[in-house]
């Protein structure tokens, strides 16, 4: 029997109340801080966390951060500001570009791209993408896609040195944001939220000690479509609820499914839910419009990503016991 999309439906009022109670308990009893920092990207996840935080603690106990940089979309700041306005909490704009220039983030990234496209320079745009894996077994090996100043699109597979340097350089963005979040958290005696949804948390779609670092992650157990539903319930503006997920990290527009996940978020949610509940691929395939073999590949890729990103979740390894803590 084919699985139904209904399995992802939530009692939104009850779930919002439950998460808000958990946030209040965590901040007051476990973290012992006076409020929460929320980094606002203008995307659905951080908007949902902002709504939950304001509801849980009251807007006086939430501080938002808007942190656009050179490669952010023109829409980013307007969308993120609409969230602090909607939920009535104070916020600060931190423009990351000069900090990232000081770290030579863009320069190091472009140097790596020039290992593959030597003519890459001003006026060019870039992103990195994974191959589709639905039509055959493939490794998650990234290619760089560039747009020339005349609009021509070119693509080449990345050798390891270039790939690792591009990722290392762009990771400065998430780590710089987190550094600023903790500055404001320390200044206000607040704790810091992390905004991964379940797909991101499970599949390791975050930067270690960047957006992966946080004191509380209120929606890490929710599938992305549940986050959309909860955000709408909480009153997140339609402009954000109706926007497609994007990484907002590279200068060329980049969907999260071409950067990381093998499918758009809705079928990805259902595949992950099904795998987590031991539903066989043959019962998932008709609902998501794929063949059974394709769903099997998606399931396999979920396991591969869990394995390859275990490092991101890993606590620091101690080489001897410290029993007192």
């Amino acid at each position: 029997m084919a699985i139904s999309w209904d399995v992802l439906e939530l009692d939104l009022a009850a779930e919002a109340d439950r998460i808000c109670a958990a946030i209040r308990h965590a901040v007051s009893h476990e973290l012992k801080r006076r409020g929460l920092i929320v980094a606002l990207s203008g995307g659905i996840d951080s908007s949902c966390v902002a709504g939950l935080s304001a509801r849980a603690l009251g807007p006086k106990h939430v501080h938002g951060l808007h942190m656009p940089e050179r490669d952010s979309s023109d829409e980013t700041l307007g969308l993120s500001t609409s969230i602090s306005d909607t939920f009535g909490f104070e916020s600060t704009v931190e423009i990351l570009t000069p900090i990232l220039e000081g770290l030579r983030c863009y320069e190091r990234r472009d140097e790596a791209i020039r290992m593959v496209f030597p003519e890459f320079g001003p006026g060019w745009k870039s992103k990195i993408v994974l191959p589709g894996l639905l039509d055959g077994d493939a490794y998650n090996v990234y290619s760089v896609v560039v747009q020339t100043p005349t609009g021509e699109i070119l693509k080449k597979r990345l050798p390891p040195k270039a790939y690792l340097q591009i990722v290392a350089a762009t990771n400065f963005k998430q780590r710089t944001r987190k550094m600023l979040e903790y500055y404001h958290a320390d200044r206000l005696h607040f704790a810091v939220t992390g905004t991964p949804n379940r797909l991101e948390y499970d599949q390791g779609f975050f930067v270690k000690n960047g957006d992966g670092a946080a004191d509380v992650k209120p929606i890490a157990h929710l599938y992305k479509s549940q986050v959309y539903a909860l955000a709408k319930y909480l009153g997140v503006p339609a402009a954000i609820c109706e926007r497609s997920p994007t990484t907002d990290t590279y200068s060329l527009a980049q969907g999260q499914d071409e950067f990381y996940f093998s499918l758009p978020y809705k079928p990805m949610d259902l595949c992950l839910w099904a795998k987590n509940h031991q539903v066989p691929p043959i019962e998932v395939a008709p609902t998501v419009g794929l063949t059974t073999a394709q769903v099997e590949r998606v399931f396999k890729d979920i396991d591969v990503k869990r394995m390859t990103t275990r490092y991101l979740h890993h606590e620091p390894v101690l080489c001897g016991e410290v029993l007192e803590l």
Partner: protein, 87 residues
Amino acid sequence: MPLAASEVERAVTAFIVENFLFGNTADAPARDASFMETGLIDSTGILELVAHLESTYGLAVGDDQLVPENLDSVANIAAFVVRQKGG
């Protein structure tokens, strides 16, 4: 003289032991052990392996050749390299 698969297997195993296992030969993979199933080598490791094969054997590995059938074990790699070299 054509390249022998057994010779490539030895060289690839030595590369894996040196680069992924820090010289620990006790953990060297069996010739037919799947890297994906054992978790020994991930996609970044595959990229490193491919770069090594390209520079050592003068190959140009195409995107369509980046598949487990060619690269998911020491034996698969050796067979792939020998095929590419016309052995």
